[in-house]
Amino acid sequence: MSKLTGHLKSIFAPSKREKEGLSFELLFQRFRDVLDNNNRAIEIITDMGEKFGGDYLFDITYVKRAYSELSVALQNCLQSFDLLTRGGYPQLHGVLRRIDDQIKRTVYDTRETGMMVVPYEDITWDKYHEVGGKNANLSELKNHLGIEVPEAFVITTSAFDELLRFNGIDKKLQTLGEALDEGVLGELRESISNAKIPPPIGDALGEALEKIRSRCGDTCFLAVRSSAEEEDGDFSFAGQFRTELNVPSEERAVEDAYRRVLASMFSGKSVAYMGKIGVDLKRMKMAVGCMVMIDAASSGVVYSADPGGEEDTLTINAAWGLGESVVEGLTDADLFVIKKAALPEIANKRTGAKKSMIARLGEGGTKRIDTPGDLSAELSLTDEQAIGLALTAILIERHFRKPQDIEWAIDRDERVFILQSRPLKIAEHEEAAAGKAPAATSERVLTKIGGTVVQKGAGAGRVFILRQMDDLNSFPRGAILVARNDSSDFIRIMPYVSAIITDTGTPTSHMAALCREFRVPTLVNAGKATQVLRHGQDVTVYADDDGTMTVYDGIARELLEQAGADSRRMENVYEFRKKRYILRYIIPLNLVDPLLDNFTAEACKTAHDVLRFIHEKSVAELVESARDGGAILKKHAAIKLRLPIPTGIMVIDIGGGLDLSPGRDSADFERISSLPLKAIVGGMMHPGVWRSEAVSLRANDFLTSMLRATDIVSDSRSFIENNVAVVSREYMNLSLRFGYHFNLIDCYCSGNTRNNHIYFRFMGGATDISKRTRRVQFIEAVLKEYGFKIKTKGDLIIARIAALPQEEIQELLDSLGRLIAYTRQLDAVMHDDASVERYTRNFLNGTYEA
């Protein structure tokens, strides 16, 4: 058997499951059960997103009720999925159990305590207490916003307790009197400096260091910093405790550094500070972060707002080498003043003298040196890097909803790292009464768009009209996305899009859930937004409760501030933030593209991921189960479709697909009541697309076809007898085989947008590989234009699209029908590469002449 035939067989061979003999009706019924359960879960998630959005007063009773409803819905969904796939994905149970545990822990506020060391990637809300505010914030940036933060782990407050207990220091602390003179403090520091590291800490530390070394090399160094337990992040503790830089990544050195940092808690300076802010030294606990040192070419600090109270500019201080020179104010740093906007602009920059810089020493530690002459007069940051940092700072500020004081470093490969972020203390100024639709703004109202408001709020930026999914790659940060359809692909831009408007879409889509999570003002089902708004125009939008979005000309700053104040303030309510945290395990979507390799059960991290995975794999199950037409035909009564074109399609109606009186064994086009089948066949019958004349073959094609021993231009029975359509009123699975071309279309086309999908697979051809490749390129270009996600491999194309309204699915099927008919023999005439573009253009213009 030739390799190709083997490949084809493996793709189109009957699956094992088919042999088990489950009727398609039952299979389809189970598929629908999965969708129903899936939708139920999504509805609960949508409700939670809304109730946790800051517009509702809710209490723990609601949180528990919502959680248990969601939990049941997820279980039901998994159960029906198991039935459909006959337990095909056992690992999903463990995945869901893990996610469920995490949600439950947050809901019932049971903390996992007692870990001595926690890597950043494992830090979750229930551990915030134990890792301290600084580490909690940084791990948020890394784990939630995907911002680059160096490899790091935390020695927890549990370790702190353990160390004190192990060395009897806890008892000393408890017997302390009121007077904490230098003598007493000195003794405490001494005890810590001589403290033995208890074995559980030593072991955990050794393991963490080994992992760090395996990732960053044996010679990497660490910054060891304090991170005091500060639940609310109210106090900055900035500069109160010791930081050890450039510590070798080996046990002894890190243990020493750890002790030195802990001891600094008992310095006169820190004790005075704690006294001032009312923190009891006896109850104070310290976590310590150990972070891989960045070999910094330059570094510094960003203030995401002007500490004087101006919130529309941010400043960056930068210097060569390590950041300590800037943080400690040791050098006259470079200064960038940047206007915050969708596309930030540099308002001012000044080159500092930068006489000295901090450099790392090879054997560990750091040293202040004179800046080499030619460097000191040079800006330590390019404009591009400054803008990039500004965007990251805006993103961080938006996430924490408070101006931030951010430390950063750029390494020698020009990778930007964030080393720390904490609230910036700024001058308070009276904010406008918030929460009301901003009435008074000088900006002109351009238009008011009706639709469904998914997330209310204001956003401003440049309008970006998305024509093709690929254009997302050039989406400018801070712009307003206007698209035909909603899509979970938008996750890529979610952290920095200012607002989203889509012509179609529903408030329960994957995208909608994400918009709520990221608080992106969003309007869906907006009709003709893509036509009303102009690409490139600067606008401010306000999505209101009443289901409209008002579009103002230009950037309306006061409007943005008014609207922003509301949600920013709610974030200040600690209990609110804490309850909202459970959404982390529910809403974010990590499984974005089902055609990518990482679309696996194991990669599911949230309830949303699980639901997405189940939906996609359920469709796949249908596709697989229906693909052997012959086997299905044996089990079902089939009706022959009589069409003006020789498609040879046999129809198996599993419910409402044909409108026939009993006993008939054939049906005309008019008798098709299956919406998807009617649409696709209608497309195939489109005038001019079905070419029935024989196509002349060139010599090498002829040879290829001889080798394949078939007559490629034939519509003869032997090659079309397995053309089978399994249909219901809203569903179709169609396998078409014309000569050596195989098409498979699986489609659900219902009134519920969320349920709908088209899966299209095409492969084969009898001509030589270059012509077949050209045809694949042509099909790919056309499908891309229609908005499909596509994966190609040789002459195989897999394309899919989902969550579109019924009418749109029907239109796409009509186009697919034309495409299938048109390309039946097209490879034979695609003689040169230029023909790809020509045919694509012609086809899209509705010209079907060769």
Binding site: L57, D59, T61, A433, G435, N572, Y574, E575, F576
Partner: protein, 122 residues
Amino acid sequence: MSSYRIMVIDDEKIVGDMAKLSLEQEGYSVETFLNAEPALSRLKEEKFDVVVTDLKMKGIDGMEVLRTVKKLYPDTKVIMITAFANLDAAIAALRAEVHDFFPKPVKIKELKESINRALSKA
């Protein structure tokens, strides 16, 4: 700016905190309590224009708060919120002259509107 005084009683901190924040934005002066005893003693000292209270609380419950308020200050409006809404409770509250009755989660905008109505009638 109006300086109407509003009291919020709910045994969950999140409810009081969120209500306080939202209502202060409207210019009201807001005090919150986690249970009814200290709230009622506070009421005996000073009159509030609107009392928002949870129905089900340990110790003194929302119905008792409602009755006490009405005895002390017949024109103070009481708004009842509850996670366990049922018709009987609503009817009982209505008989005791509750101004409004909301199942939780309560849309803050609706609560604000209800308070505005209560105050315009006063």
